[in-house]
């Protein structure tokens, strides 16, 4: 490596920065390139404006041809205080100019300048890239665009009329304008119903398309899941256990699709518990009913609770001979409680040998290692209930 490449090229491209701008960032951008204080350039523009409006034309030209600085930052808008200050300076200078007769062009140059700004704004609005963006943008932006277009149009009209007034041509133009207005109005009247029906047609087409997309989504879902399962059920017709399992898992899946809020699979505890229960239900063919109250983010200690809960579900589904397992999860502000209950044969806790991993290690041990607790309530013939409690850290 002989040379470290300079981060900034020797001749930086002229751009308009968004932050710190007063009007459009032209002066600031140019100042950055010329290594000058932007205030100097701004005053120069103001001074040139006072002299026959040259400053505005120059500024507008630079605005048109200078690209905006690419930036991720949010547009914070202008510093209106500064705008007012520079405007006031210009106004005072103009007043002095008019009073002293230094401004040669007189008032007639102003309409041209105003018309110029107006067409500039309109021109900017018509930029195809932007038009694309408005289509996807929010209502607020659309409204802003309308306001801008309105101002642009107004400035052009004012500029044109001002020009005619200055040239004493308004009276002659009046008849022509009237003629144009009548023709345009007439065409508008003729075309209005057609335009309205076209608009309605477009709206209708749009709603129809949305509806069709929805229908297609439902059809795709039904095809992928329900029809598929029905085929499997027919094929397994002589295995009642498998049929029940298939029907149950399809039911659960359809229910989730219809009624559950769309959740990221493992982002929250309730969603994770539902997923774990669904997996164990599929694996063991025993329905697991879940009721969740509240929800919270899944963190490390709650993951431990989730693992312990899975072990409890596995035990209940595998050994209890209960027809159904109930899981109840309650998330309170300071702690999380989860119950896994079956109405199976139950057991005597003291009879469980110390080396059996399920209850002692995977449930009680795991909960205690992670700062929680587990309580097992069981008796032969009375089912089993395992209660897991974990304090919430957040």
């Amino acid at each position: 490596m002989s040379e470290i490449p300079d981060a900034t090229p020797a001749f930086p491209k002229l751009t308009r920065p968004l932050s710190g701008r007063v009007v459009a960032g032209v002066a600031q951008g140019a100042a950055e390139q010329l290594r000058l204080d932007p205030v100097v350039l701004r005053l120069a523009f103001v001074l040139l404006t006072v002299l026959d409006g040259l400053g505005i034309v120059a500024y507008a030209a630079l605005w048109m041809f200078t690209p905006r600085e690419p930036s991720e930052k949010v547009d914070r808008g202008r510093d209106w205080g500064q705008v007012a200050a520079y405007g006031l300076v210009g106004f005072v200078l103009a007043a002095i100019g008019v009073l002293s007769g230094a401004a040669a062009g007189g008032v007639a140059t102003w309409p041209i300048a105003i018309g110029g700004i107006g067409s500039l704004i309109l021109w900017q609005q018509a930029d195809p890239g932007r038009r694309q963006r408005w289509m996807n943008s929010t209502v607020g932006q659309v409204r802003q665009t309308w306001v801008r277009s309105g101002i642009g149009l107004l400035l052009v009209v004012v500029g044109a009329i001002g020009f005619l007034v200055a040239q004493d041509q308004l009276a002659q133009a009046g008849t022509g304008l009237m003629f144009t207005a009548v023709v345009v109005g007439g065409i508008g009247l003729i075309a209005a119903p057609w335009l309205a029906s076209l608009w309605k047609e477009l709206q209708k087409e749009r709603t129809e398309r949305i509806r069709q997309e929805e229908r297609a989504e439902v059809a795709a879902h039904v095809h992928d899941s329900v029809l598929h399962t029905l085929t499997l059920i027919q094929r397994n017709a002589n295995d009642p256990r498998e049929v029940t399992r298939l029907a149950r898992s399809q039911e659960r899946e359809l229910r989730n699709w219809l009624y559950q809020p769309k959740q990221d699979a493992d982002a929250t505890l309730a969603a994770a518990v539902r997923r774990v229960a669904a997996e164990e239900e599929d694996a063991h063919g025993i329905p697991i009913e879940i009721v969740c109250v509240g929800d919270c983010e899944l963190d490390e200690s709650l993951s431990a609770l989730l693992h312990a809960a899975r072990q409890a579900m596995v035990n209940a589904a595998k050994y209890s001979e209960s027809p159904v397992v109930s899981v109840y999860l309650e998330i309170e502000p300071d702690e999380v409680t989860l119950f896994v209950r079956d109405r199976g044969k139950g057991f005597t806790l003291d009879d469980v040998p110390d080396d059996r991993m399920g209850i002692r290690q995977s449930i009680i041990g795991r909960m205690e290692r992670n700062g929680g607790s587990a309580r097992v309530k069981t008796a032969p013939g009375e089912g089993t209930e395992i209660m897991l409690t974990m304090k919430r850290t957040a």
Binding site: L258, P261, V291, G294, V324, Y328, R341
Partner: protein, 212 residues
């Protein structure tokens, strides 16, 4: 035990005959209806003790039946029976005046029990409904407007928790050292709160739950 006269309102014929076959001898099915119109007419004609009401039906669903029958001053008791687990549906029919809500996966014996309980004027809460109530009454930041109606007592909360954990009323009574009658009283009281509380959160909560 006196037999309970039941009317089944459901738009699926297969399901109606399935329920009919499953019910115990203490239940007498006096009729069936398949939409809102026939349901309202048949209820007025037959005056059953309990109406098994489907939530989703053509012509406005179970809530419409409840509105028209109970709005007319009838004392008929309704038990909602649905495949839907949506909070909106569950809370909707309970607030519409049903005395209980069970899902169609319930087995024949449990359904017979539930019907008997509703016939006696008690309330029937499925574990899921109990969970919904706990959730809806827990999520409150604003102070209740009517403290008596807008919040649950500690005992009611305990009872609901046990229902949500899958306990039957008898098991709850044993767990809390109270009588089954007391459990029923607590559940009925929760049902009353659920129906009368004008916590605007309740309906909003149920609707919002779907949209999350």
């Amino acid at each position: 035990m006196k037999t309970v006269r039941v009317l089944i309102v459901d738009d699926h014929r297969l399901f109606r005959s399935g329920v009919r076959a499953e019910l115990g001898p203490s239940i007498q099915v006096v009729g069936e209806a398949e939409d809102v119109e026939t349901a309202v007419r048949t209820i007025a004609e037959l005056e059953p003790d309990v109406v098994l009401l489907d939530v989703h039906m053509p012509g406005g669903g179970g809530q419409e039946v409840l509105r028209r029958v109970l709005g007319g001053g009838s004392q008929v008791r309704f038990l909602a029976l649905s495949v839907s687990d949506a909070a909106e549906d569950v809370i909707g029919v309970i607030r519409g005046g049903a005395r209980g809500y069970v899902t169609k996966t319930i087995n024949g014996n449990e359904l017979t029990d539930a019907i008997n309980r509703v016939a006696e004027g008690d309330a029937v809460f499925s574990p899921r409904l109990a969970g919904f109530v706990l959730d809806a009454f827990a999520s409150t930041e604003a102070p209740p407007i009517d403290p008596e109606l807008d919040s649950l007592t500690t005992r009611e909360r305990e009872v609901l928790r046990l229902i949500a954990r899958g306990y039957a009323y008898k098991e709850i009574a044993k767990e809390l050292f109270i009588s089954v009658k007391t459990v029923e009283t607590h559940v009925s009281s929760v049902l009353r709160k659920l129906q009368l509380s004008n916590r605007h959160e309740l309906s909003r909560w149920a609707t919002a739950r779907r949209l999350v």
